[in-house]
């Protein structure tokens, strides 16, 4: 703790624990569950509130402003801003994700071993055991035909007609009854996000949870992490009420790819903190059908076409009506006609595994994310979006809306798709959104090329761990939650063994 903190004093909240975990998303909740069930004293500190599922607003405005960082308006800095979506509530980004589950692809695992020295972290046998445990705990199963709904069913038909490698998604929602509201929080708690699975399990094993606690920095004494310091937030205004501090034997930072590096930097860590930000930015195409599709019924996301060798993955993605309407072309009567039939649309998106690497740095109004897709990345995005347009016509669409600057707003035939493909797309034309984020505190055996070691402990500060998607040295080309959970599960188990018996706070 610096002189400034000592002089300022006036703590509104003080506590201590064996393990303090900053953040309750995929990484933090998993680490907490493992450590608490191993008998350790765990305290979660979460910046956001705990949202009761039944109280979460069902409209898009309420959903976005109540659970997402800056109401989903945070973007990358640069000439073509890309919205960066993250949850800020108990459960983190898992509280509004679609629950799509993918194991880490083998080529990624091998790359991490060969080029980053992470053999012990991603040991094949250990990961296999962990995947099975997590899949059982989170009720992972393929999306059933009865809850695919019109949006995903049409994608399946297009994929089958074109001979693409499509399949129903595996999701952590075996009991999904197709309410299509994952973004607003699953109304019946069918989807096993961290707020309804691993956080409660950790608490049942004795973990404690303090919400509305924004950690600002790690408290370091003699080169060792001894706790954290932050601000207690007001539930309604989300403005600081006063400062708090928590002492701990071990500090685990799991604040996500954008906020973890900011906490580390504020704590005096340097080196590669904030570097190697990566993502799978995505964009979506909407199609209009003559008959009702009924996007409102079915799993929010149910069908996918993985094309890893081409560097992208296509997914069906249902939207709340507010967001769907915004995607439909026209003004005045033209738009009013389209929005009068909101049950006649499909939306399919492409997630692109981009090679671009960016940086997260502290800025005057919060973190700045510098990130710019390369020309090759944009070419991959174009290939994916053109394929979606073709699939839509194959499925019987009467109109397709690419939503891409500089090309026609409405396509009415496959021949028009060919024309669009032949056109040059400007770099700013594609409206990308990023929800799969990686890097900024990368793991690796070589301290000169990474921030944390294979045990996810900081190379610089003893007792300080990072357990979230920031430790990923690369992106993967598949949905990340399961891999984040597996990697943090593994590191937390190793830490639990090393940590010995409970040293009650």
């Amino acid at each position: 703790m610096g002189l400034f903190d000592r002089l300022r004093g006036g703590w509104v909240y003080e506590d201590d624990a064996d393990y303090v975990i900053v953040g309750t998303g995929a990484g933090g909740a998993t680490a907490g569950k493992v450590l608490a069930e191993a008998g350790h004293d765990v305290l979660f500190l979460e910046e956001g509130p705990r949202l009761k599922t039944k109280d979460r607003p069902r409209d898009a405005i309420g959903a976005l402003s109540g659970s997402m960082r800056q109401a989903a308006t945070q973007t990358t800095a640069g000439p073509v801003p890309i919205p960066v979506l993250q949850g800020v509530c108990v459960g983190g980004s898992t509280a509004m994700n679609s629950g799509i589950i993918w194991r880490m692809p083998e080529d990624v695992r091998e790359d991490w071993i060969t080029n980053h020295g992470l053999a012990s972290l991603v040991d094949e046998g250990e990961l296999e055991r962990i995947y099975e445990t997590v899949e059982e705990d989170l009720e992972v199963s393929p999306t059933g035909d009865d809850v695919l709904g019109g949006n995903a069913t049409l994608m399946r038909q297009a994929s089958e007609k074109l001979g693409l490698p499509g399949k129903p998604m595996s999701r952590n929602a075996a009991r999904c009854d197709g309410k299509g509201e994952c973004l607003q929080g699953c109304p019946g708690e069918k989807r096993q996000s961290m707020d309804v699975s691993y956080v409660p399990r950790a608490m049942a094993a004795g973990a404690r949870l303090s919400t509305l606690c924004r950690v600002e920095k790690v408290w370091i004494e003699g080169g060792r992490a001894v706790g954290v310091i932050g601000s207690k937030m007001d539930r309604h205004t989300r403005k600081p009420l006063g400062r708090f501090r928590v002492r701990a034997r071990h500090v685990i930072v799991s604040a996500g790819v954008v906020h973890t590096p900011i906490i580390l930097k504020r704590s005096g860590l340097g080196g590669l903190v904030g570097h190697r930000f990566q993502a799978h930015p995505g964009a979506a195409i909407v199609g209009r059908f003559a008959e009702p599709v009924r996007m409102s019924y079915g799993a929010t996301q149910g069908y996918e076409v993985p094309m890893r060798s081409r560097g992208f993955k296509l997914e069906s993605l249902s939207l709340p009506p507010e967001m769907l309407a915004a995607r439909l072309p026209g003004v005045g009567a033209e738009w009013q006609e389209r929005v009068a039939n909101l049950d006649c649309y499909t939306q399919w998106c492409a997630q692109v595994r981009m090679e671009a690497k960016g940086r997260v740095v502290p800025g005057p109004f919060g973190p700045l994310v510098f990130y710019q897709p390369t020309a090759r990345d944009l070419a991959k995005a174009k290939e994916a979006l053109v394929l979606i347009c073709r699939m839509m016509f194959e499925a019987g669409a009467v109109e397709v809306y690419p939503g891409i600057g500089g090309i026609p707003e409405v396509l009415r035939s496959p021949a028009e798709v060919d024309a669009v493909e032949a056109q040059k797309w400007s770099p700013a034309a594609i409206h990308l959104v990023a929800s799969h984020l990686f890097g900024t505190a990368c793991a690796g055996a070589n301290p000169g090329r990474s921030v944390v070691g294979p045990d996810l402990q900081s190379h610089e500060v003893a007792g300080l761990y990072v357990m979230d998607a920031s430790v990923f040295p690369t992106n993967m080309g598949v949905n990340p939650q399961h891999s984040i959970m597996a990697v943090t599960y593994r590191a937390a188990e190793q830490l639990a063994l090393r940590g010995g018996a409970r040293q009650a706070a």
Binding site: L64, Q74, T153, P292, A325, G332, W335, A340, L342, D343
Partner: protein
Amino acid sequence: MRLTWWEKRWLEAIFEGFAPPRADAAEGLLTPEPGEVDHVGRFAEMNEHASPIAKLGMHVAVHLVGLAPVWTGTKLAGFDRLDEEARVALLEELMEHPFALVKELSWLMKVQAAMTLFGTPSIRARSGYDRGREEKMPVRLRVKKDGSMKEVA
């Protein structure tokens, strides 16, 4: 997000420009009734937690479109002084504008208009979006040879 009185007037007029309200609903169109949507209130609620840069962008967008009649040479007046036809025509022009910034900020206004409109339960109900859900029936669709779809049990 705080708006000045003139921003409120422009905002209301811009949002109504995308979907002009009518007392008598037109066949086949989703038409809000006058006063049915609290555009300004919903907009403020939505942007309360927005990032400082997004808030700034929103003010810039309201001014850009609010003053568009002047800088496009349409009329020496704010957007709220245009009649319905002129509002629609101007918004169409802005959404197709050769300057990407103008196009993007006009599109931002459309996104916000869609959020406030369809966040209003009575409008959502008329959009047909929830039709499948009300029936609580699994919907399975098959594409017929002619490209149209049929529902199967």
